[in-house]
Symmetry: C2
Subunit: 125 residues, 2 copies
DNA sequence: TGGTTATTTAACCAGGAGGTTATGAGCAAT
DNA sequence: ATTGCTCATAACCTCCTGGTTAAATAACCA
């Protein structure tokens, strides 16, 4: 069960558009149209991405008249983090807390580690 | 920069075979043949998986006569974790440290969160 | 009843992923 | 140099992904 969830979760996270969608949803709920707006691609493409995210359990959807507001869901992110955490002896030799790690990364070399990683209009790099 | 690395990293993590390979490498370096042994699939298939892992920077390779020992690399795991950590307000409402999170997960519902998630011979579930 | 908005579905396409078998290349040992 | 082991590459297949446009569905509004 965990394996398939991890498959879907990591696969969902592997696309910049979907990470940007999650970043947006981290700020607030949003409708499909709202989510699609900052991107160059068509709205059905966004719907497809949302389906991937939904299949991974990363977003859930409500109902507001014709709109289907999307909400970020925690559990898959939690499981993915837990999986990665089991390797922290490797990637964080002397860090005990993520805060320290983040501090180190942000001071060091990373400018887009966070919920503004890939600008929607700069997807191609 | 970070975006493309995250793409490759999460994509690499999205396959149970590759996660199992990483789990194996977390214990020790290993040659391709050693890595391929527990799996049902052919050796070229493993080579392909290793190439994906290598492209993501998750493994590096040395030289020992004919053998090409694989070693787990930390940085992409670190960046992936850092990205996920930015959502910890969602997935870990009251946890400050991963240890607490792990404790909670392991006590709760997860039996395969770790470097023995998907048994190589039980890939299909 | 019809029209407008929001979203999904369908049909299609190019390209990549993940597997196979067969072959080639590098190094070692006899 | 021939054999044997380790690993990579090539060629091929099938299925999925990520995008498109066009049409269908669903809910509101008049």
């Amino acid at each position: 069960m965990g394996a398939e969830l991890l498959d879907a979760t990591f696969a969902a996270l592997a696309h910049p558009t979907r990470r940007a969608i999650l970043a947006r949803l981290a700020r607030s709920e949003a409708t499909v149209t709202e989510l699609a707006e900052p991107f160059e691609m068509s709205q059905p493409a966004i719907s497809k991405h949302l389906r991937v995210l939904e299949r991974a359990g990363l977003v859930s959807r409500g109902r507001d008249a014709q709109r289907r507001p999307c909400r970020l869901e925690a559990r898959p992110l939690r499981e993915a983090t837990a999986w990665l955490a089991d390797y922290r002896d490797y990637w964080a030799e002397s860090y005990q807390r993520l805060d320290a790690l983040l501090d180190e990364l942000q001071a060091g070399d990373s400018t887009d580690v966070a919920p503004r990683p890939e600008q929607p209009d700069g997807t191609g790099g």
